[in-house]
């Protein structure tokens, strides 16, 4: 096992004009450019059918691109497939596990497939089984595993040969909050301690927001926006503030005061909302103004823009299923698009 790889010491990913067109199918990936820095966790955020898995398949040499180019760890995915496979690990969306094999047997299979030494195979297998908390279940058939256990095993399998670049396709879909948290901390550890570059796809805003150093928003095969979560949010706008006066009679006065600090945004009932002109700095002024005017407040809420706001601003629709709280007002972009 060489960890030096051929050609480059870089662990990053460089993608230029990547396209994948399926026969009699859609242009699933429609000209993607992106750069993932070595050691970074890159979150690829998008709704169902956006082209996330298709991109992952191309970057992991499972699918040849129709056009464009991609280099992983400095190696061309189209022409240097074998070398690319030596340095990457991947846990795909549908964890391909054999229900008849135990976790330990999967380790044996995976380490042998990678051509690892016999001595190293056993040690590495046990180490990883322990790291993902499957020691107790190591001798059980995977057919009896829960969804979370399968995901953890799949991740462990992806790591056997100490890959420098790790691809995770929706690693936490269907996991309970606890399993999700433990997977997040493992991914973070891999990136920060081992310097592994992580390319992770997700439909969860929260996951992209908290786990990824940088996020690419993909919709309909194209990258709609890219940046750190903070940059993305900052770019689309300033935070908003929602204020509810204790005394319903003073709503008009409150509106007057708030008008100086930003433009109104829709809010419900007795609550008044504005988007802050001066960003978060405006908040102090608002509090002082209410104090001076002697208006008592039942609540004052500061809403940072979310990645869903970014998504909405960049694509014209919400990320499906992402805004659990606002699902009622969710449009149906898919049906609209397909009818066009």
């Amino acid at each position: 096992m060489s960890n030096k790889g051929a050609g480059s010491k870089e662990n990053g990913i460089e993608v230029e004009g990547l396209v994948r067109e399926f026969k009699n199918g859609p242009r699933a990936v429609d000209g993607i450019d992106l750069v993932v820095e070595p050691g970074e966790i890159y979150g690829f955020l998008g709704p169902n059918g956006a082209g996330k898995s298709t991109t992952v398949h191309m970057l992991t040499t499972l699918l040849p691109p129709t056009a464009g180019s991609a280099r992983v760890a400095g190696l061309d995915v189209a022409t240097q497939g074998p070398q690319v496979r030596e340095v990457i690990g991947a846990a795909l969306q549908e964890a391909a596990l054999d229900p008849h094999l135990t976790a330990r047997e999967h380790m044996k299979l995976q380490t042998s497939l990678h051509g690892m030494d016999r001595a190293e195979r056993h040690q590495r297998g046990e180490e990883l089984i322990e790291r993902v908390g499957l020691t107790e279940a190591a001798e059980r058939r995977v057919g009896d595993f829960s969804g979370g256990m399968k995901r953890r095993l799949d991740l462990a399998l992806a790591l056997v040969h100490r890959p420098r670049v790790l691809f995770l396709d929706e690693p936490t879909t269907g996991l309970d909050p606890q399993s999700r948290a433990s997977l997040w901390s493992e991914v973070t550890r891999l990136s920060s301690e081992d310097g592994v570059t992580v390319f992770l796809t997700t439909q969860y805003l929260e996951e992209a927001d908290q786990l990824a150093n940088r996020v690419g928003i993909i919709d309909d095969g194209r990258i709609a926006a890219e940046g750190t979560p903070a940059e993305l949010k900052a770019a689309i706008g300033r935070p908003s503030v929602e204020v509810t006066p204790s005394d319903g009679a003073r709503i008009a006065d409150a509106q007057g005061i708030l008008a100086d600090f930003g433009a109104p945004v829709p809010a419900s009932g007795e609550t008044i909302g504005i988007r802050l002109n001066a960003g978060i700095d405006g908040l102090v002024g608002i509090v002082r103004a209410f104090d001076t005017a002697d208006i008592e407040l039942a609540s004052l809420v500061l809403n940072e823009p979310t990645l869903d706001d970014v998504f909405l601003a960049k694509t014209g629709h919400h990320l499906e299923g992402a805004s659990e709280s606002e699902s009622a007002e969710m449009p149906l972009p898919e049906t609209q698009n397909s009818r066009a």
Partner: protein
């Protein structure tokens, strides 16, 4: 380079054999199948062996050679089924991702199929011997006969692998099995080639299995003839089918 390659191939073979062993419901019938043929041919049709001009020393041995070739080629087809199932159910992707050189997947299935074949040989030969088959050929002759069966196995596996990798679905099973079945039965199954009449005669004479079968029977009888033709045909089939399988692999690669 070489060692990791065979480590990958061995991993594929190991899993194939392991799953056979843990799934007797799949394995046992495939073992009974050749025994059934042996019993039906050698037992039920033994009167054929007494027909004038048959000219082979032992009817059971005559039929055994066919059953050996048949069981060996079908073992290759069964391994093709497993390849199709793996690509249908996702394990194919795991193997495509984890193996550096992907032809090791096909080689692994070939190793698995050949290892499985060993057990089939032991059982079929054992049953034939218990059933009173007499063996005229020497040890070397017999080794030659089994090696021809192995080559038939490899050719059938490569053929099936080519189909499995193109369709990546178990629904392609009949496409692997039917041609092999047909070509097997277009060989001189029940009587020597010189006794064949009608349309089957020209079919049998151009059938590559005929060359294998005739040579196997001659080796069993200890009077080897047509070996050059048999090995030549076997090598040719393996070569053609290897190209077919590798092209199938390329098709699986481009389909994702």
């Amino acid at each position: 380079m070489i060692r990791p390659y065979f480590s990958s191939a061995w991993a594929v073979a190991w899993r194939y054999l392991h799953n056979l062993y843990t799934k007797p419901a799949v394995f046992i019938p495939s073992l009974l199948f050749p025994l059934f043929f042996l019993a039906a041919f050698a037992g039920g049709l033994s009167v054929v062996g007494k027909a004038p001009g048959f000219g082979y020393y032992d009817f059971t041995a005559f039929q055994f050679c066919f059953v050996l070739i048949q069981a060996s080629t079908l073992a290759g087809v069964f391994a093709g089924f497993s390849i199709a199932a793996d690509f249908e159910q996702g394990m194919g992707r795991r193997m495509m991702l984890a193996t550096i050189h992907r032809s090791s997947i096909v080689v692994g299935f070939a190793i698995g199929a050949a290892s499985r074949l060993l057990l089939t040989w032991v059982v079929v030969t054992g049953v034939a011997l218990l059933g009173g088959m007499s063996v005229a050929g020497s040890g070397i002759n017999l080794a030659g006969m089994f090696s021809l069966a192995l080559l038939g196995n490899i050719a059938a596996l490569l053929f099936s692998a080519g189909i499995a990798l193109r369709f990546r679905s178990l629904q392609a099973g009949p496409l692997m099995q039917m041609p092999v079945f047909i070509i097997l039965f277009l060989a001189p199954v029940y009587v020597p080639q010189n006794l064949l009449t009608g349309w089957i005669e020209p079919a049998a004479s151009v059938n590559p299995v005929t060359a294998l079968l005739n040579a196997a029977r001659s080796l069993m009888a200890g009077e080897p003839t047509g070996l050059l033709a048999a090995y030549g045909v076997a090598a040719g089939m393996i070569l053609v089918m290897a190209v077919w399988a590798i092209k199938g692999l390329r098709s699986a690669e481009t389909a994702g």
